[in-house]
Symmetry: C2
Protein backbone atom coordinates (compact mmCIF):
# COMPACT_ATOMS: atom_id res chain seq x y z
CA UNK A 1 0.00 0.00 0.00
CA UNK A 2 2.58 2.54 1.12
CA UNK A 3 4.81 2.39 -1.94
CA UNK A 4 7.62 4.71 -2.85
CA UNK A 5 9.18 5.57 -6.17
CA UNK A 6 12.64 4.05 -6.42
CA UNK A 7 15.62 4.90 -8.50
CA UNK A 8 14.71 1.89 -10.62
CA UNK A 9 11.27 3.30 -11.42
CA UNK A 10 12.90 6.51 -12.52
CA UNK A 11 15.40 4.59 -14.63
CA UNK A 12 12.67 2.67 -16.41
CA UNK A 13 10.60 5.75 -17.04
CA UNK A 14 13.59 7.65 -18.38
CA UNK A 15 14.90 4.73 -20.40
CA UNK A 16 18.33 4.70 -18.79
CA UNK A 17 20.08 2.54 -16.23
CA UNK A 18 19.87 3.05 -12.49
CA UNK A 19 23.51 4.07 -12.48
CA UNK A 20 22.84 7.00 -14.73
CA UNK A 21 19.93 8.03 -12.57
CA UNK A 22 22.10 7.88 -9.51
CA UNK A 23 24.74 10.02 -11.15
CA UNK A 24 22.20 12.55 -12.37
CA UNK A 25 20.56 12.77 -8.98
CA UNK A 26 23.84 13.23 -7.18
CA UNK A 27 25.30 15.78 -9.54
CA UNK A 28 28.15 13.47 -10.38
CA UNK A 29 30.22 13.80 -13.58
CA UNK A 30 30.05 11.26 -16.40
CA UNK A 31 26.51 11.99 -17.42
CA UNK A 32 25.35 13.82 -20.50
CA UNK A 33 23.69 17.15 -19.79
CA UNK A 34 20.57 16.25 -21.75
CA UNK A 35 20.22 12.85 -20.14
CA UNK A 36 20.67 14.42 -16.76
CA UNK A 37 17.91 16.96 -17.30
CA UNK A 38 15.59 14.30 -18.58
CA UNK A 39 16.26 12.11 -15.54
CA UNK A 40 15.71 14.98 -13.15
CA UNK A 41 12.48 15.86 -14.90
CA UNK A 42 11.19 12.30 -14.72
CA UNK A 43 12.23 12.02 -11.08
CA UNK A 44 10.35 15.18 -10.25
CA UNK A 45 7.25 14.05 -12.09
CA UNK A 46 7.25 10.69 -10.39
CA UNK A 47 7.80 12.29 -6.99
CA UNK A 48 11.02 10.47 -6.27
CA UNK A 49 12.44 10.94 -2.77
CA UNK A 50 15.76 9.41 -1.82
CA UNK A 51 15.47 6.54 0.63
CA UNK A 52 17.51 7.40 3.68
CA UNK A 53 17.28 3.89 5.12
CA UNK A 54 19.05 2.47 2.09
CA UNK A 55 21.76 5.09 2.36
CA UNK A 56 22.22 4.33 6.02
CA UNK A 57 22.85 0.70 5.23
CA UNK A 58 25.07 1.49 2.29
CA UNK A 59 27.34 3.92 4.09
CA UNK A 60 27.10 2.73 7.65
CA UNK A 61 26.12 6.27 8.56
CA UNK A 62 22.61 7.30 9.46
CA UNK A 63 22.82 11.08 9.91
CA UNK A 64 20.73 10.51 12.96
CA UNK A 65 21.77 11.32 16.47
CA UNK A 66 20.12 10.14 19.63
CA UNK A 67 19.20 12.29 22.61
CA UNK A 68 18.43 10.68 25.94
CA UNK A 69 16.97 12.87 28.66
CA UNK A 70 15.39 12.23 32.02
CA UNK A 71 12.28 14.10 31.05
CA UNK A 72 11.98 16.11 27.88
CA UNK A 73 8.93 17.94 29.20
CA UNK A 74 11.05 19.58 31.86
CA UNK A 75 11.44 23.15 30.58
CA UNK A 76 15.18 22.95 31.08
CA UNK A 77 15.57 19.96 28.79
CA UNK A 78 13.03 21.10 26.27
CA UNK A 79 15.03 24.25 25.65
CA UNK A 80 18.31 22.39 25.45
CA UNK A 81 16.69 20.07 22.96
CA UNK A 82 15.65 22.99 20.85
CA UNK A 83 19.27 24.07 20.60
CA UNK A 84 20.30 20.57 19.61
CA UNK A 85 17.61 20.17 16.98
CA UNK A 86 18.35 23.58 15.52
CA UNK A 87 22.00 22.80 14.91
CA UNK A 88 21.21 19.28 13.78
CA UNK A 89 18.83 20.51 11.12
CA UNK A 90 21.45 22.96 9.96
CA UNK A 91 23.79 20.04 9.33
CA UNK A 92 21.17 17.74 7.84
CA UNK A 93 20.97 15.50 10.83
CA UNK A 94 17.83 14.24 12.48
CA UNK A 95 17.26 13.58 16.13
CA UNK A 96 15.62 10.71 17.95
CA UNK A 97 14.54 11.76 21.43
CA UNK A 98 13.92 9.34 24.30
CA UNK A 99 13.06 9.80 27.96
CA UNK A 100 14.35 7.71 30.83
CA UNK A 101 12.03 9.02 33.52
CA UNK A 102 15.12 8.88 35.74
CA UNK A 103 15.08 5.10 35.64
CA UNK A 104 18.39 3.36 35.04
CA UNK A 105 16.78 0.35 33.38
CA UNK A 106 14.96 2.54 30.91
CA UNK A 107 18.20 4.41 30.27
CA UNK A 108 19.99 1.16 29.53
CA UNK A 109 17.22 0.14 27.20
CA UNK A 110 17.23 3.48 25.44
CA UNK A 111 20.96 3.19 24.82
CA UNK A 112 20.50 -0.28 23.35
CA UNK A 113 17.81 1.07 21.08
CA UNK A 114 20.09 3.87 19.94
CA UNK A 115 22.86 1.40 19.18
CA UNK A 116 20.42 -0.74 17.26
CA UNK A 117 19.35 2.33 15.29
CA UNK A 118 23.01 2.89 14.51
CA UNK A 119 22.87 6.54 15.49
CA UNK A 120 25.98 8.43 14.46
CA UNK A 121 26.23 9.95 17.90
CA UNK A 122 24.52 10.38 21.21
CA UNK A 123 23.85 13.17 23.66
CA UNK A 124 22.86 11.94 27.07
CA UNK A 125 22.08 13.22 30.52
CA UNK A 126 22.80 10.14 32.60
CA UNK A 127 20.89 9.27 35.73
CA UNK A 128 24.26 8.89 37.44
CA UNK A 129 23.05 5.93 39.40
CA UNK A 130 25.25 3.52 37.50
CA UNK A 131 27.08 3.88 34.24
CA UNK A 132 27.88 0.50 32.71
CA UNK A 133 25.47 1.29 29.93
CA UNK A 134 27.43 4.37 28.99
CA UNK A 135 30.68 2.49 29.17
CA UNK A 136 29.33 0.12 26.53
CA UNK A 137 28.91 3.13 24.27
CA UNK A 138 32.48 4.16 24.89
CA UNK A 139 33.63 0.64 24.09
CA UNK A 140 31.76 0.65 20.82
CA UNK A 141 33.30 4.04 20.27
CA UNK A 142 29.99 5.62 19.43
CA UNK A 143 30.54 9.36 19.73
CA UNK A 144 28.86 10.41 22.94
CA UNK A 145 28.45 13.69 24.75
CA UNK A 146 27.55 13.82 28.42
CA UNK A 147 25.31 16.80 28.94
CA UNK A 148 24.77 18.85 32.05
CA UNK A 149 26.67 16.54 34.30
CA UNK A 150 30.26 15.98 35.30
CA UNK A 151 31.17 12.33 35.33
CA UNK A 152 34.42 11.65 37.14
CA UNK A 153 34.31 7.97 36.29
CA UNK A 154 34.19 8.29 32.53
CA UNK A 155 36.59 9.73 30.02
CA UNK A 156 34.06 11.24 27.66
CA UNK A 157 33.42 14.72 26.28
CA UNK A 158 31.13 16.76 28.48
CA UNK A 159 29.19 19.97 28.15
CA UNK A 160 27.92 21.55 31.29
CA UNK A 161 27.64 24.86 33.05
CA UNK A 162 29.97 26.31 35.61
CA UNK A 163 27.94 25.30 38.60
CA UNK A 164 30.56 25.95 41.23
CA UNK A 165 30.59 29.57 40.17
CA UNK A 166 26.80 29.50 39.92
CA UNK A 167 26.49 28.30 43.48
CA UNK A 168 28.98 30.92 44.57
CA UNK A 169 27.21 33.78 42.80
CA UNK A 170 23.84 32.92 44.29
CA UNK A 171 25.12 32.53 47.82
CA UNK A 172 27.43 35.52 47.66
CA UNK A 173 24.57 37.67 46.43
CA UNK A 174 22.38 36.63 49.34
CA UNK A 175 25.18 37.40 51.79
CA UNK A 176 25.79 40.80 50.20
CA UNK A 177 22.09 41.50 50.75
CA UNK A 178 22.72 40.99 54.45
CA UNK A 179 21.55 37.41 54.78
CA UNK A 180 23.33 35.36 57.44
CA UNK A 181 21.47 32.10 57.71
CA UNK A 182 21.06 30.75 54.21
CA UNK A 183 19.29 27.48 53.61
CA UNK A 184 20.59 25.41 50.72
CA UNK A 185 17.77 23.41 49.21
CA UNK A 186 19.94 21.13 47.14
CA UNK A 187 19.35 18.24 44.76
CA UNK A 188 20.37 14.73 45.69
CA UNK A 189 24.06 14.55 46.35
CA UNK A 190 24.92 11.71 44.02
CA UNK A 191 24.40 14.19 41.24
CA UNK A 192 27.52 16.04 40.25
CA UNK A 193 25.50 19.18 39.66
CA UNK A 194 24.35 19.17 43.26
CA UNK A 195 27.90 18.61 44.43
CA UNK A 196 29.17 21.55 42.42
CA UNK A 197 26.52 23.96 43.58
CA UNK A 198 27.18 22.85 47.12
CA UNK A 199 30.86 23.60 46.62
CA UNK A 200 29.98 27.09 45.40
CA UNK A 201 27.76 27.60 48.43
CA UNK A 202 30.53 26.59 50.80
CA UNK A 203 33.08 28.77 49.00
CA UNK A 204 30.87 31.83 49.28
CA UNK A 205 30.31 31.29 52.99
CA UNK A 206 34.04 30.84 53.58
CA UNK A 207 35.01 33.91 51.55
CA UNK A 208 32.55 35.98 53.53
CA UNK A 209 33.61 34.60 56.87
CA UNK A 210 30.31 32.90 57.60
CA UNK A 211 30.29 29.61 59.42
CA UNK A 212 28.96 26.61 57.55
CA UNK A 213 26.06 24.92 59.34
CA UNK A 214 24.85 21.43 58.55
CA UNK A 215 21.38 22.26 59.84
CA UNK A 216 20.89 24.63 56.91
CA UNK A 217 21.63 22.19 54.12
CA UNK A 218 19.04 19.78 52.72
CA UNK A 219 18.98 17.36 49.84
CA UNK A 220 15.61 16.62 48.33
CA UNK A 221 14.31 14.79 45.30
CA UNK A 222 13.07 16.58 42.16
CA UNK A 223 9.77 18.38 41.92
CA UNK A 224 7.84 21.40 43.08
CA UNK A 225 5.96 19.41 45.70
CA UNK A 226 9.17 18.14 47.16
CA UNK A 227 10.49 21.67 47.72
CA UNK A 228 7.14 22.88 48.96
CA UNK A 229 6.94 20.11 51.54
CA UNK A 230 10.50 20.49 52.77
CA UNK A 231 10.15 24.25 53.18
CA UNK A 232 6.94 23.80 55.11
CA UNK A 233 8.65 21.26 57.32
CA UNK A 234 11.51 23.68 58.01
CA UNK A 235 9.11 26.47 58.87
CA UNK A 236 7.12 24.23 61.19
CA UNK A 237 10.30 23.02 62.87
CA UNK A 238 11.02 26.61 63.88
CA UNK A 239 14.37 26.71 62.09
CA UNK A 240 15.52 30.30 61.70
CA UNK A 241 16.71 31.38 58.25
CA UNK A 242 16.62 34.56 56.20
CA UNK A 243 17.80 33.31 52.83
CA UNK A 244 17.32 30.34 50.56
CA UNK A 245 19.44 29.15 47.69
CA UNK A 246 17.44 26.66 45.69
CA UNK A 247 18.92 23.99 43.43
CA UNK A 248 16.65 25.06 40.61
CA UNK A 249 13.76 27.37 39.81
CA UNK A 250 11.24 24.62 40.29
CA UNK A 251 12.41 24.23 43.88
CA UNK A 252 12.32 28.00 44.30
CA UNK A 253 8.73 28.09 43.11
CA UNK A 254 7.75 25.40 45.62
CA UNK A 255 9.66 27.13 48.41
CA UNK A 256 8.07 30.50 47.70
CA UNK A 257 4.65 28.91 47.72
CA UNK A 258 5.29 27.53 51.21
CA UNK A 259 6.86 30.74 52.50
CA UNK A 260 3.87 32.77 51.35
CA UNK A 261 1.54 30.35 53.04
CA UNK A 262 3.33 31.05 56.33
CA UNK A 263 2.99 34.78 55.81
CA UNK A 264 6.66 35.33 55.14
CA UNK A 265 7.42 38.34 53.04
CA UNK A 266 9.79 37.79 50.14
CA UNK A 267 12.43 39.13 49.99
CA UNK A 268 12.11 41.05 53.30
CA UNK A 269 11.77 38.06 55.65
CA UNK A 270 13.37 35.45 53.44
CA UNK A 271 15.28 36.11 50.24
CA UNK A 272 15.16 33.39 47.62
CA UNK A 273 17.50 32.65 44.73
CA UNK A 274 16.80 29.97 42.13
CA UNK A 275 18.80 28.37 39.36
CA UNK A 276 18.30 27.84 35.59
CA UNK A 277 16.25 30.93 34.72
CA UNK A 278 13.45 28.95 33.16
CA UNK A 279 11.23 31.13 31.03
CA UNK A 280 8.60 31.53 33.72
CA UNK A 281 11.04 32.68 36.37
CA UNK A 282 10.32 36.29 35.62
CA UNK A 283 6.55 35.93 35.77
CA UNK A 284 6.09 34.33 39.12
CA UNK A 285 5.54 36.60 42.05
CA UNK A 286 7.87 37.93 43.24
CA UNK A 287 9.85 37.57 40.05
CA UNK A 288 12.68 35.20 40.67
CA UNK A 289 16.29 36.15 41.18
CA UNK A 290 18.16 33.26 39.67
CA UNK A 291 21.34 31.98 38.11
CA UNK A 292 20.86 31.98 34.35
CA UNK A 293 22.30 29.48 31.97
CA UNK A 294 21.91 29.69 28.23
CA UNK A 295 20.07 26.47 27.52
CA UNK A 296 19.80 26.87 23.78
CA UNK A 297 23.53 27.50 23.64
CA UNK A 298 24.17 24.48 25.80
CA UNK A 299 22.24 22.35 23.30
CA UNK A 300 23.99 23.89 20.33
CA UNK A 301 27.39 23.43 21.90
CA UNK A 302 26.64 19.82 22.68
CA UNK A 303 25.67 19.15 19.09
CA UNK A 304 28.71 20.87 17.69
CA UNK A 305 31.02 19.00 19.99
CA UNK A 306 29.30 15.79 19.01
CA UNK A 307 29.65 16.57 15.33
CA UNK A 308 33.35 17.08 15.82
CA UNK A 309 33.57 13.71 17.46
CA UNK A 310 31.52 12.11 14.68
CA UNK A 311 33.72 13.50 11.98
CA UNK A 312 37.02 12.72 13.58
CA UNK A 313 38.12 9.15 13.27
CA UNK A 314 40.00 9.31 16.53
CA UNK A 315 38.98 7.63 19.72
CA UNK A 316 36.90 9.72 22.09
CA UNK A 317 38.73 11.45 24.85
CA UNK A 318 37.72 13.36 27.91
CA UNK A 319 37.02 16.98 27.11
CA UNK A 320 35.10 19.40 29.20
CA UNK A 321 33.29 22.43 27.88
CA UNK A 322 32.15 24.59 30.76
CA UNK A 323 29.64 27.28 29.95
CA UNK A 324 29.38 30.56 31.80
CA UNK A 325 26.53 31.36 34.13
CA UNK A 326 25.31 34.71 35.34
CA UNK A 327 23.12 36.00 38.10
CA UNK A 328 19.85 37.64 37.09
CA UNK A 329 18.66 40.11 39.72
CA UNK A 330 14.92 40.31 40.13
CA UNK A 331 12.59 40.76 43.07
CA UNK A 332 12.87 37.63 45.17
CA UNK A 333 16.21 38.52 46.75
Amino acid sequence: MKKFVTIRDVANAAGVSINTVSRALNDKPDVNEETKEKVLKVARELGYVRDATALSLRYGLTRVIGVIFEDSSNPFFSEVFKGIEMKAREHNFNVILMNTEKDYDIEEDAIKTMISRRVDGLIITPTQERFEDIESLANLNIPTIILGVHFKELKLPEVHTDDVTGGFLATDYLIKKGRKRIVLLNGLSYKSVAQMRFEGYVNALRDNGIKYLDELVYEIPEGVESAYNKTKELLLSGLRFDGMFCFNDIFAIGAIEALKEFGKRIPEDVSVVGYDDISYAKYISPSLTTVAIDKILEGQTAFELLLESVKSKAKMTAKEIVLDVKLIERKSA
Copy 2:
Protein backbone atom coordinates in the same frame (compact mmCIF):
# COMPACT_ATOMS: atom_id res chain seq x y z
CA MET B 1 36.48 2.82 13.17
CA LYS B 2 32.91 2.55 14.39
CA LYS B 3 32.37 -1.12 13.59
CA PHE B 4 29.51 -3.29 14.63
CA VAL B 5 29.24 -7.03 15.06
CA THR B 6 27.11 -8.49 12.28
CA ILE B 7 25.19 -11.67 12.02
CA ARG B 8 28.02 -12.91 9.80
CA ASP B 9 30.60 -12.39 12.54
CA VAL B 10 28.43 -14.37 14.90
CA ALA B 11 28.01 -17.11 12.29
CA ASN B 12 31.77 -17.41 11.79
CA ALA B 13 32.48 -17.45 15.49
CA ALA B 14 29.83 -20.05 16.12
CA GLY B 15 30.74 -22.14 13.10
CA VAL B 16 27.30 -22.06 11.54
CA SER B 17 25.67 -20.23 8.66
CA ILE B 18 24.10 -16.80 8.91
CA ASN B 19 20.71 -18.38 8.38
CA THR B 20 21.03 -20.45 11.48
CA VAL B 21 22.09 -17.41 13.44
CA SER B 22 19.11 -15.51 12.18
CA ARG B 23 16.79 -18.33 13.19
CA ALA B 24 18.35 -18.62 16.61
CA LEU B 25 18.19 -14.91 17.22
CA ASN B 26 14.58 -14.66 16.17
CA ASP B 27 13.36 -17.66 18.06
CA LYS B 28 12.33 -19.35 14.85
CA PRO B 29 11.87 -23.14 14.54
CA ASP B 30 14.22 -25.39 12.54
CA VAL B 31 17.21 -24.91 14.77
CA ASN B 32 18.68 -27.39 17.21
CA GLU B 33 18.38 -26.39 20.85
CA GLU B 34 22.11 -26.79 21.47
CA THR B 35 23.09 -24.86 18.37
CA LYS B 36 20.68 -22.14 19.33
CA GLU B 37 22.14 -21.75 22.79
CA LYS B 38 25.62 -21.70 21.41
CA VAL B 39 24.70 -19.03 18.89
CA LEU B 40 23.01 -16.93 21.52
CA LYS B 41 26.01 -17.27 23.77
CA VAL B 42 28.42 -16.23 21.04
CA ALA B 43 26.16 -13.34 20.06
CA ARG B 44 26.11 -12.14 23.64
CA GLU B 45 29.86 -12.43 24.01
CA LEU B 46 30.50 -10.57 20.81
CA GLY B 47 28.02 -7.87 21.78
CA TYR B 48 25.81 -8.35 18.77
CA VAL B 49 23.01 -5.81 18.36
CA ARG B 50 20.52 -6.12 15.55
CA ASP B 51 20.91 -3.47 12.88
CA ALA B 52 17.64 -1.62 12.60
CA THR B 53 18.65 0.15 9.40
CA ALA B 54 19.00 -3.18 7.62
CA LEU B 55 15.62 -4.27 8.90
CA SER B 56 14.03 -1.05 7.73
CA LEU B 57 15.31 -1.65 4.23
CA ARG B 58 14.38 -5.29 4.26
CA TYR B 59 10.80 -4.81 5.42
CA GLY B 60 10.02 -1.35 4.17
CA LEU B 61 9.03 -0.48 7.72
CA THR B 62 11.13 1.63 10.02
CA ARG B 63 9.28 1.58 13.33
CA VAL B 64 9.99 5.27 13.45
CA ILE B 65 7.37 7.97 13.51
CA GLY B 66 7.92 11.63 12.86
CA VAL B 67 6.64 14.48 14.95
CA ILE B 68 6.57 17.98 13.56
CA PHE B 69 5.82 20.83 15.94
CA GLU B 70 6.02 24.57 15.75
CA ASP B 71 8.23 24.75 18.77
CA SER B 72 8.94 21.78 20.98
CA SER B 73 10.21 24.00 23.78
CA ASN B 74 6.73 25.43 24.22
CA PRO B 75 5.52 23.73 27.41
CA PHE B 76 2.32 22.75 25.69
CA PHE B 77 4.09 20.79 22.97
CA SER B 78 6.75 19.40 25.23
CA GLU B 79 4.09 17.71 27.33
CA VAL B 80 2.21 16.42 24.33
CA PHE B 81 5.47 15.02 23.05
CA LYS B 82 6.01 13.21 26.30
CA GLY B 83 2.70 11.45 25.83
CA ILE B 84 3.63 10.48 22.31
CA GLU B 85 7.09 9.20 23.22
CA MET B 86 5.71 7.23 26.15
CA LYS B 87 3.24 5.30 24.01
CA ALA B 88 5.74 4.93 21.18
CA ARG B 89 8.29 3.33 23.48
CA GLU B 90 5.62 0.98 24.74
CA HIS B 91 5.11 -0.23 21.17
CA ASN B 92 8.79 -0.32 20.24
CA PHE B 93 8.64 2.71 18.06
CA ASN B 94 11.07 5.60 18.04
CA VAL B 95 10.32 9.22 17.41
CA ILE B 96 12.10 11.82 15.31
CA LEU B 97 11.16 15.33 16.44
CA MET B 98 11.48 18.42 14.28
CA ASN B 99 10.53 22.06 14.77
CA THR B 100 9.15 24.37 12.13
CA GLU B 101 9.44 27.62 14.05
CA LYS B 102 6.06 28.42 12.52
CA ASP B 103 7.63 28.72 9.09
CA TYR B 104 5.84 27.05 6.21
CA ASP B 105 9.03 26.48 4.24
CA ILE B 106 10.66 24.72 7.16
CA GLU B 107 7.52 22.66 7.61
CA GLU B 108 7.61 21.62 3.97
CA ASP B 109 11.24 20.69 4.34
CA ALA B 110 10.61 18.74 7.52
CA ILE B 111 7.92 16.72 5.79
CA LYS B 112 10.27 15.93 2.93
CA THR B 113 12.86 14.79 5.42
CA MET B 114 10.33 12.56 7.13
CA ILE B 115 9.34 11.00 3.82
CA SER B 116 12.98 10.45 3.00
CA ARG B 117 13.42 8.77 6.38
CA ARG B 118 10.51 6.53 5.46
CA VAL B 119 8.77 7.12 8.77
CA ASP B 120 5.88 4.75 9.31
CA GLY B 121 3.67 7.63 10.33
CA LEU B 122 3.58 11.29 11.18
CA ILE B 123 2.04 13.51 13.81
CA ILE B 124 1.97 17.13 12.85
CA THR B 125 0.71 20.46 14.07
CA PRO B 126 0.50 22.39 10.82
CA THR B 127 1.17 26.10 10.56
CA GLN B 128 -2.16 26.34 8.73
CA GLU B 129 -0.77 28.91 6.36
CA ARG B 130 -0.85 26.52 3.44
CA PHE B 131 -1.21 22.80 3.25
CA GLU B 132 0.07 21.45 -0.04
CA ASP B 133 2.90 19.79 1.86
CA ILE B 134 0.43 17.85 3.96
CA GLU B 135 -1.57 16.90 0.92
CA SER B 136 1.54 15.28 -0.51
CA LEU B 137 1.61 13.06 2.57
CA ALA B 138 -1.98 12.11 2.01
CA ASN B 139 -1.22 11.28 -1.59
CA LEU B 140 1.66 9.05 -0.60
CA ASN B 141 -0.74 7.58 1.91
CA ILE B 142 1.70 7.97 4.77
CA PRO B 143 -0.37 7.65 7.93
CA THR B 144 -0.71 11.15 9.34
CA ILE B 145 -2.40 12.63 12.37
CA ILE B 146 -3.19 16.32 12.57
CA LEU B 147 -2.74 17.40 16.16
CA GLY B 148 -4.34 20.25 18.03
CA VAL B 149 -5.91 21.79 14.98
CA HIS B 150 -9.06 21.34 12.96
CA PHE B 151 -8.39 21.38 9.26
CA LYS B 152 -11.51 21.78 7.21
CA GLU B 153 -9.65 21.42 3.93
CA LEU B 154 -8.13 17.99 4.55
CA LYS B 155 -9.66 14.60 5.07
CA LEU B 156 -7.23 13.32 7.66
CA PRO B 157 -7.54 11.97 11.19
CA GLU B 158 -7.34 14.69 13.81
CA VAL B 159 -6.88 14.85 17.55
CA HIS B 160 -7.72 18.05 19.28
CA THR B 161 -9.48 19.46 22.29
CA ASP B 162 -13.01 20.76 22.49
CA ASP B 163 -12.10 24.39 22.18
CA VAL B 164 -15.58 25.70 21.52
CA THR B 165 -16.61 24.35 24.90
CA GLY B 166 -13.35 25.62 26.38
CA GLY B 167 -14.02 29.13 25.15
CA PHE B 168 -17.55 28.90 26.44
CA LEU B 169 -16.51 27.68 29.90
CA ALA B 170 -13.98 30.44 30.36
CA THR B 171 -16.28 33.23 29.23
CA ASP B 172 -19.31 31.90 31.05
CA TYR B 173 -17.30 31.66 34.26
CA LEU B 174 -16.24 35.30 33.98
CA ILE B 175 -19.83 36.35 33.37
CA LYS B 176 -21.05 34.35 36.35
CA LYS B 177 -18.47 36.22 38.42
CA GLY B 178 -20.27 39.39 37.43
CA ARG B 179 -17.99 40.51 34.60
CA LYS B 180 -19.70 42.45 31.83
CA ARG B 181 -16.96 43.76 29.57
CA ILE B 182 -14.72 40.84 28.77
CA VAL B 183 -11.71 41.29 26.55
CA LEU B 184 -10.84 38.34 24.35
CA LEU B 185 -7.10 38.23 23.75
CA ASN B 186 -7.20 35.74 20.96
CA GLY B 187 -4.62 34.06 18.73
CA LEU B 188 -4.44 34.86 15.04
CA SER B 189 -7.72 34.06 13.37
CA TYR B 190 -6.39 31.86 10.56
CA LYS B 191 -5.83 29.26 13.26
CA SER B 192 -8.74 26.94 13.76
CA VAL B 193 -8.08 26.90 17.50
CA ALA B 194 -8.55 30.65 17.70
CA GLN B 195 -11.73 30.38 15.66
CA MET B 196 -13.12 27.77 17.98
CA ARG B 197 -12.36 29.65 21.17
CA PHE B 198 -13.88 32.73 19.62
CA GLU B 199 -17.01 30.75 18.86
CA GLY B 200 -17.20 29.64 22.49
CA TYR B 201 -16.74 33.22 23.64
CA VAL B 202 -19.58 34.42 21.42
CA ASN B 203 -21.85 31.56 22.52
CA ALA B 204 -21.35 32.38 26.18
CA LEU B 205 -22.13 36.05 25.65
CA ARG B 206 -25.29 35.18 23.71
CA ASP B 207 -26.51 32.63 26.25
CA ASN B 208 -26.06 35.21 29.00
CA GLY B 209 -27.72 38.00 27.06
CA ILE B 210 -24.59 40.12 26.77
CA LYS B 211 -23.99 42.10 23.65
CA TYR B 212 -20.95 41.21 21.59
CA LEU B 213 -18.60 44.15 21.06
CA ASP B 214 -15.89 44.23 18.42
CA GLU B 215 -13.86 46.69 20.48
CA LEU B 216 -13.21 43.97 23.06
CA VAL B 217 -11.78 41.35 20.73
CA TYR B 218 -8.13 41.32 19.67
CA GLU B 219 -5.99 38.95 17.71
CA ILE B 220 -2.30 38.95 18.50
CA PRO B 221 0.71 36.85 17.57
CA GLU B 222 2.25 34.29 19.93
CA GLY B 223 4.39 35.19 22.90
CA VAL B 224 4.35 36.71 26.36
CA GLU B 225 5.65 40.03 25.11
CA SER B 226 2.90 40.23 22.55
CA ALA B 227 0.21 39.90 25.22
CA TYR B 228 2.03 42.22 27.58
CA ASN B 229 2.25 44.93 24.92
CA LYS B 230 -1.33 44.64 23.74
CA THR B 231 -2.69 44.78 27.30
CA LYS B 232 -0.59 47.84 28.04
CA GLU B 233 -1.91 49.43 24.86
CA LEU B 234 -5.50 48.72 25.87
CA LEU B 235 -4.95 50.17 29.31
CA LEU B 236 -3.33 53.30 27.90
CA SER B 237 -6.17 53.72 25.39
CA GLY B 238 -8.58 54.01 28.29
CA LEU B 239 -10.68 51.06 27.18
CA ARG B 240 -12.91 49.89 30.02
CA PHE B 241 -12.96 46.17 30.79
CA ASP B 242 -13.34 44.03 33.88
CA GLY B 243 -12.49 40.58 32.50
CA MET B 244 -10.02 38.99 30.16
CA PHE B 245 -10.17 35.66 28.45
CA CYS B 246 -6.73 34.84 27.11
CA PHE B 247 -6.01 32.47 24.24
CA ASN B 248 -3.44 30.66 26.34
CA ASP B 249 -1.64 30.81 29.67
CA ILE B 250 1.35 32.52 28.13
CA PHE B 251 -0.89 35.39 27.04
CA ALA B 252 -2.46 35.44 30.49
CA ILE B 253 0.95 35.75 32.10
CA GLY B 254 1.82 38.69 29.87
CA ALA B 255 -1.54 40.33 30.47
CA ILE B 256 -1.28 39.97 34.24
CA GLU B 257 2.18 41.49 34.16
CA ALA B 258 0.81 44.57 32.38
CA LEU B 259 -2.27 44.82 34.60
CA LYS B 260 -0.14 44.74 37.73
CA GLU B 261 2.09 47.44 36.34
CA PHE B 262 -0.97 49.65 36.01
CA GLY B 263 -1.97 48.96 39.58
CA LYS B 264 -4.98 46.87 38.66
CA ARG B 265 -5.96 44.33 41.27
CA ILE B 266 -6.55 40.81 40.03
CA PRO B 267 -9.23 39.54 40.19
CA GLU B 268 -11.02 42.50 41.83
CA ASP B 269 -10.49 45.07 39.06
CA VAL B 270 -9.89 42.68 36.20
CA SER B 271 -10.50 38.93 36.27
CA VAL B 272 -8.27 36.85 34.03
CA VAL B 273 -8.77 33.36 32.64
CA GLY B 274 -6.12 31.51 30.65
CA TYR B 275 -6.03 28.35 28.59
CA ASP B 276 -3.94 25.16 28.59
CA ASP B 277 -3.12 24.85 32.30
CA ILE B 278 0.61 24.70 31.74
CA SER B 279 2.40 23.40 34.79
CA TYR B 280 3.39 26.86 36.02
CA ALA B 281 -0.14 28.22 35.89
CA LYS B 282 -0.66 27.47 39.53
CA TYR B 283 2.53 29.11 40.70
CA ILE B 284 2.22 32.54 39.16
CA SER B 285 0.63 35.20 41.26
CA PRO B 286 -2.28 35.23 41.45
CA SER B 287 -2.55 31.59 40.56
CA LEU B 288 -4.20 31.28 37.20
CA THR B 289 -7.77 30.23 36.58
CA THR B 290 -7.58 28.41 33.30
CA VAL B 291 -9.08 25.86 30.97
CA ALA B 292 -7.22 22.60 31.42
CA ILE B 293 -6.49 20.10 28.74
CA ASP B 294 -4.77 16.80 29.35
CA LYS B 295 -1.69 17.21 27.19
CA ILE B 296 -0.13 13.85 27.96
CA LEU B 297 -3.41 12.20 27.04
CA GLU B 298 -3.59 14.22 23.86
CA GLY B 299 -0.16 12.90 22.87
CA GLN B 300 -1.02 9.34 23.80
CA THR B 301 -4.27 9.50 21.90
CA ALA B 302 -2.53 10.85 18.83
CA PHE B 303 -0.02 8.02 18.88
CA GLU B 304 -2.65 5.37 19.33
CA LEU B 305 -4.73 6.74 16.51
CA LEU B 306 -1.62 6.84 14.36
CA LEU B 307 -0.76 3.28 15.20
CA GLU B 308 -4.21 2.19 14.13
CA SER B 309 -3.70 3.95 10.85
CA VAL B 310 -0.24 2.40 10.43
CA LYS B 311 -1.54 -1.10 11.02
CA SER B 312 -4.58 -0.85 8.84
CA LYS B 313 -3.93 -1.19 5.15
CA ALA B 314 -6.86 0.99 4.31
CA LYS B 315 -6.66 4.49 2.96
CA MET B 316 -6.72 7.26 5.53
CA THR B 317 -10.05 8.90 6.17
CA ALA B 318 -11.21 11.91 8.10
CA LYS B 319 -11.75 11.08 11.75
CA GLU B 320 -11.95 13.53 14.57
CA ILE B 321 -11.15 12.73 18.18
CA VAL B 322 -12.21 15.60 20.38
CA LEU B 323 -10.88 15.59 23.93
CA ASP B 324 -12.69 17.07 26.89
CA VAL B 325 -11.59 20.24 28.60
CA LYS B 326 -12.37 21.51 32.07
CA LEU B 327 -12.15 24.76 33.93
CA ILE B 328 -9.70 24.97 36.81
CA GLU B 329 -10.72 27.60 39.33
CA ARG B 330 -7.86 29.40 41.00
CA LYS B 331 -7.28 32.97 42.14
CA SER B 332 -7.09 35.08 38.99
CA ALA B 333 -10.84 35.14 38.36
